[in-house]
């Protein structure tokens, strides 16, 4: 039987739950960091990523409505997070589309849900399910700590590569730059909410489990991108050459 952890122990346990399944380890992320993807691969990434992050304010909206009103700080955080995603500065998805266009695809292709892979649809569905059905504190752990807090470390690795190896301009990679700041704030405030309100053994264990699953889902999503767009293309190459 697990014991109730203090804040420091619980924080370390949450970080460990994510670390083992970090999306930084997916083949797509490694190929990205190594500069071996083509702009067409990055375009496919953007077309998929839009359907995962595009509804982020929607996920949080469902969660906001279910968060008990006595958790005022948590509710305010969710509201601020939604505002920043959509209307605080530039709409985050518009910056993603700007990057997508620089990769050679179009706004129409990006927003068309038919262009996401089944695995991306699975990740999006999981996010909706967590937002609508889980205990609100467990849902913050899954969506904000498990998923959003990973973003700065991923983009810190990927953004310099986009400039230096792929030759994108500062404006074209703004989507990545901004998330290094915004998701550092969101992730940390998510941690604060979970550390404060997950105050039973059962809640702590459920938060740990959902962080692990969230990180697993993101890893699954990025790994699938590699198989769907990079490996498939490589496998088709000898056939195309022989034809």
């Amino acid at each position: 039987m697990s014991a109730l952890m203090n804040r420091d122990e619980f924080r370390t346990a949450l970080e460990d739950a994510i670390k083992g399944k970090s999306a930084n380890k997916s083949p797509f992320s490694l190929a990205w960091a190594g500069g071996t993807l083509s702009r067409a691969h990055l375009a496919r990434w953007a077309e998929n990523h839009y359907h995962y992050v595009g509804p982020f304010a929607d996920y949080l909206g469902y969660l906001y409505a279910r968060m008990p009103d006595r958790y005022t700080e948590a509710k305010d955080f969710l509201l601020a997070n939604m505002y920043e995603e959509e209307i605080g500065g530039d709409r985050h998805t518009d910056l993603l589309i700007r990057f997508a266009e620089a990769c050679g695809t179009t706004r129409e292709r990006v927003i068309d849900p038919d262009n996401m892979s089944p695995t991306t649809r699975g990740l999006q569905s999981w996010c909706y399910a967590v937002a609508m059905r889980e205990d609100p504190i467990v849902a913050v752990a899954g969506l904000v700590v498990g998923l959003e807090s990973q973003v700065p470390s991923i983009y810190r690795k990927q953004t310099p590569t986009l400039r230096e190896k792929y030759g994108f301009s500062d404006e074209e990679v703004e989507f990545f730059d901004l998330h290094i700041v915004s998701d550092e704030i969101h992730g940390e405030r998510g941690y604060q909410i979970v550390l404060e309100h997950a105050n039973t053994v059962e809640l702590q264990q459920r938060c740990l489990k959902i962080c692990e699953i969230g990180a697993q889902m993101r890893l699954l999503y990025t790994t699938a991108l590699y198989h769907d767009y990079v490996v498939t293309e490589e496998a088709a190459q000898p056939v195309l050459e022989a034809a």
Partner: protein, 101 residues
């Protein structure tokens, strides 16, 4: 670890932060320089976090494209956007009481 000296409204606030810290991120998670540092978008668009660097500017990287676009001539007066800076050395900053339009 860097020591931040922050001037605002005739007061001086000072504290130590972790290496490679972004002060807007700190304020966003309600740690020093919260609640004194004014900021808004966190993405170099609104300029609300603009501060004048009084000491330590030599340790900062050159202004990036967002700072150049938002601050223009104010760069010459020593202004930088706090949201765009990752602080690795001691720094002394002053923020005007009202944000420039």
């Amino acid at each position: 670890m860097p020591i931040i000296t922050f001037h605002k409204g005739g007061q001086v606030y000072r504290d130590e932060v972790k290496d490679n810290t972004n002060l807007v991120v700190r304020a966003g998670i309600k740690q020093f320089p919260y609640p004194h540092l004014r900021y808004e978008c966190g993405m170099g668009k609104c300029s609300k976090c603009a501060c004048r660097v009084l000491a330590g500017a030599q340790h900062l990287p050159p202004p990036n494209w967002k700072e150049k676009k938002q601050l223009g001539e104010r760069l010459d007066a020593g202004y930088r956007l706090a949201c765009q800076l990752w602080v690795q050395h001691d720094i002394e900053l002053a923020q005007d009481e009202t944000a420039a339009a």
